[in-house]
Symmetry: C2
Subunit: 189 residues, 2 copies
């Protein structure tokens, strides 16, 4: 036995099912982002990961498809960002490796601008639209997280691939969560 | 029950344990890359994913820490690239969310230049060095995969963060695997 590990399990905290229950359809951008920011807020309060939340919705109906929160420290997994969790869980639920491989279009709501890794991840996930709350400068002002090396005009890179980008949706609310994380002494890594 | 999925399991194919057994220490760049390319080759032959392999080694000793292959289509998971699998499995094995959070330094060998997502992933994984076989143009010439929107000088972005980059290690061998995948009619996505 050479000690190689050959499988890894990624999990959301148990409270996520409650947070996302019974809300009906998330029709507007604000409704979608309210959930993403609420996921971030509860992740900070429960100390179950970093101050970031994301969710994926069916564009036409506003149906919630998946939720994600940052799980890097609890899971010992540098890839377990909120957006990546949401992509993986949506794809498992729908049984497809790209969300756009069908008649339905999907929207990602994320409480903060994606980092360099999640930026590329957005392209492969197959979402057709991304709405963002906090900006890079908010994250870097209010926490010690950084976004990594990004292309100069990152939003243009997504738009060129047919992915619509909308910024500053409930930005102030997401900034409050970032501040709260730092106030509580959350881990920086 | 709202149908939300709250956990996802990522697995390597069963043959990986054989491929990585009994090789002792991988001291040279060529030895490290021989394993990464062999993982890619066997992944194509076994039809267990895309034509990409990666592995992480302890820098000082050449000990194999983790292996990864592309698992996007079999697992319905757009994030399951070879490098990401190797990062996650190394971190689970070592019980840390950044590989450089200790006295040991780690090297990533990858059979092809990382895509936009894995590029960011390299930064967060905590490897101190990356050796690469096939270049972006090899991937784009011999398959229909593309690398996504990358910063202009991507290698400089890693070097600026203290991550050494070495290109063209066993490049021709990795190109053969890309060609074989296309010859066998492997899925493009």
């Amino acid at each position: 036995m050479n000690g190689l590990v050959t499988s890894v399990n990624l999990t959301l905290p148990a409270w996520v099912e409650d947070a996302a229950y019974g809300e009906g359809l998330y029709r507007t951008d604000d409704a979608k982002m309210r959930l993403a920011v609420e996921l971030a807020r509860r992740n900070v309060e429960a100390r179950t990961g970093g101050p970031f939340g994301a969710a994926i919705f069916e564009a036409a109906t506003g149906e919630l498809i998946s939720a994600g929160v940052n799980r890097v420290v609890p899971l010992n997994n540098s890839t377990a960002h909120a957006e990546m969790m949401a992509f993986m869980l949506a794809q498992v639920r729908l049984g497809k490796f790209r969300l756009d491989g069908g008649v339905h279009a999907f929207v990602l709501a994320t409480s903060a601008q994606p980092c360099a890794m999640c930026y590329g991840g957005v392209v492969w996930a197959g979402v057709r639209r991304m709405i963002v709350a906090a900006r890079k400068e908010d994250v870097e002002t209010h926490t010690h997280f950084d976004e990594g090396p990004m292309p100069e005009d990152w939003a243009a890179g997504l738009r060129a691939r047919g992915i619509e980008v909308t910024l500053d949706v409930l930005r102030a609310d997401a900034v409050e969560v970032l501040k709260e994380y730092t106030r509580l002494g959350g881990a920086d890594y």
